[in-house]
């Protein structure tokens, strides 16, 4: 079953009392982001929820609230949707997920990001830019969320290649892109090409046909 639409619509679930990532107001034609508080999720019926190509989350997610909506999250994924998760998982919202594992030691070496597989969500970003910002390591991630079996590992940290980023095609339907660090949406916010990273992710999402 495919879900056809005129424009690709995303739902950004806002969790903190903060501004919306500026990139969402600078999207290319054919992309649209709706914004809702995560506490408004219960007011969005399944038909409306399932019409979104992806749910975009922030690392400020109230994971107590989100985990309590496991049935709705599974239903959304069953419909073929994608969830982009940022930050450490501390309350697994799917059976297959496990809590975040911090790096045992945080040094320049263990925090260095390496690319484990080329991935269309990160087309134009040199991995060195994820490792260091103004020579400082650690912004991209300080550990990993354990990937379910079958996940595609995208980026790793340090010599152990702790999988800080991965994509998982859920056998029962849907996709999870999991990034265990600071929000992708604003990661390069003070740089001239600030939008390149989030637009890479959104472009990949838009290219995926929503199927079950």
């Amino acid at each position: 079953m495919t879900n056809e639409r005129a424009a690709t619509s995303f739902l950004f679930l806002q969790s903190a009392r903060r501004s919306i990532p500026p990139v969402f107001s600078r999207l290319p034609p054919g992309m649209h982001v709706d914004v809702a508080s995560q506490y408004e999720l219960d007011d969005i019926d399944d038909t409306a929820l399932h019409s979104y190509t992806a749910l975009l989350l922030t690392s400020h997610l109230d994971q107590i609230h989100f985990e309590r909506r496991r049935g709705r999250i599974e239903g959304y994924l069953d419909s073929g949707g994608t969830i982009v998760f940022n930050g450490p998982i501390v309350r697994p919202f799917l059976t297959e997920l496990q809590p975040f594992v911090p790096l045992p030691k945080r040094t320049l070496e263990t925090l260095r990001v390496c690319r484990l597989a080329s991935h269309p969500a990160f087309p134009d970003i040199a991995v060195e830019r994820l490792s260091l910002r103004r020579g400082v390591a650690g912004f991209w991630g300080r550990g990993h969320n354990p990937p379910p079996p079958g996940a595609t590992l995208i980026h790793g940290l340090g010599p152990e290649r702790a999988p800080v980023d991965w994509e998982w095609r859920r056998p029962a339907g849907g996709t999870l892109l999991c990034h265990a660090g600071n929000d992708i949406w604003g990661f390069l916010e003070d740089e001239p090409d600030a939008d390149a990273l989030p637009l890479g992710v959104l472009g990949w999402l838009a290219s995926m046909e929503k199927t079950v």
Binding site: S15, A16, R17, Y39, S59, H60, L61, D62, Q63, I64, H65, F66, G87, P88, I89, V90, R91, F100, P102, L103, R106, R134, G135, V136, G138, R142, G143
Partner: protein, 207 residues
């Protein structure tokens, strides 16, 4: 007697790690999950810590209850990025852009100064333990004591024992956020010192 300290919990990963993790969980009698916060949650408490990045929208409707808690002699700690000026009377706040990079320069100066070196907090920590970055500054009410000042004016941590009946410690530092993010070791040193200091003060306040 062990003081009864509650902390606000917004369900984020950093609240989870800082409040429920083994390092600090024993300090808290109660964690208050803020979407379900009720004024009754404050009853019987000696102190409430409004932890970093607690959404002010959960506190604004309960401004009067917080004031009552203080009026009954309670201690309130308002951490950074909680917009305390929106839910606590007499807080005068100026937001500033955050400079995360100041320490990369030669002879770097954070701008922080001990405003009250004799304050009991400094028996538990040094200024270096409170030094990472800040998100703005306060103008403390008359009668409040600034503990840490900014070189250019304003306070980033003050102790107010005169405005409310109880005691308010207001800061623009965000240690629970960064400790819970496994980032910035000074924030862990800060909490290692601050939580025992708070416990001590609740049992026997320094003069």
């Amino acid at each position: 007697m062990r003081p009864r300290i509650a902390a606000t919990d917004c369900g984020t990963y950093f609240h989870h790690e800082s409040l429920r993790g083994q390092r600090y969980a024993h300090f808290f009698e109660r964690l208050i999950y803020m979407p379900e916060f009720r004024p009754e949650d404050l009853s019987g408490l000696d102190a409430l810590i409004v932890t970093c990045r607690t959404n002010a929208d959960f506190l604004i409707p309960h401004r009067a209850a917080i004031r009552r808690f203080l009026g009954l002699g309670g201690t309130l700690v308002a951490c950074g990025e909680t917009d305390a000026h929106l839910w606590l009377d007499d807080v005068r706040w100026t937001s500033t852009p955050t400079n995360y990079w100041w320490w990369l320069k030669d002879k770097a100066d954070s701008g922080l100064r001990p405003a009250a070196p004799q304050h009991s907090l400094f028996q538990h920590m040094t200024l270096a333990d409170a030094t990472w970055h800040f998100h703005g500054f306060f103008e403390p009410p008359a009668g409040a004591q600034s503990v840490i000042d900014l070189a250019g004016g304003g306070s980033i941590l003050y102790d107010d024992r005169t405005s409310y009946g109880g005691r308010a410690i207001v800061m623009s530092l965000d240690p629970f956020y960064h400790h819970g993010s496994h980032f910035m070791p000074a924030t862990t040193r800060f909490l290692d010192a601050f939580l025992p200091w708070l416990t001590t003060e609740l049992i026997a306040p320094a003069a």
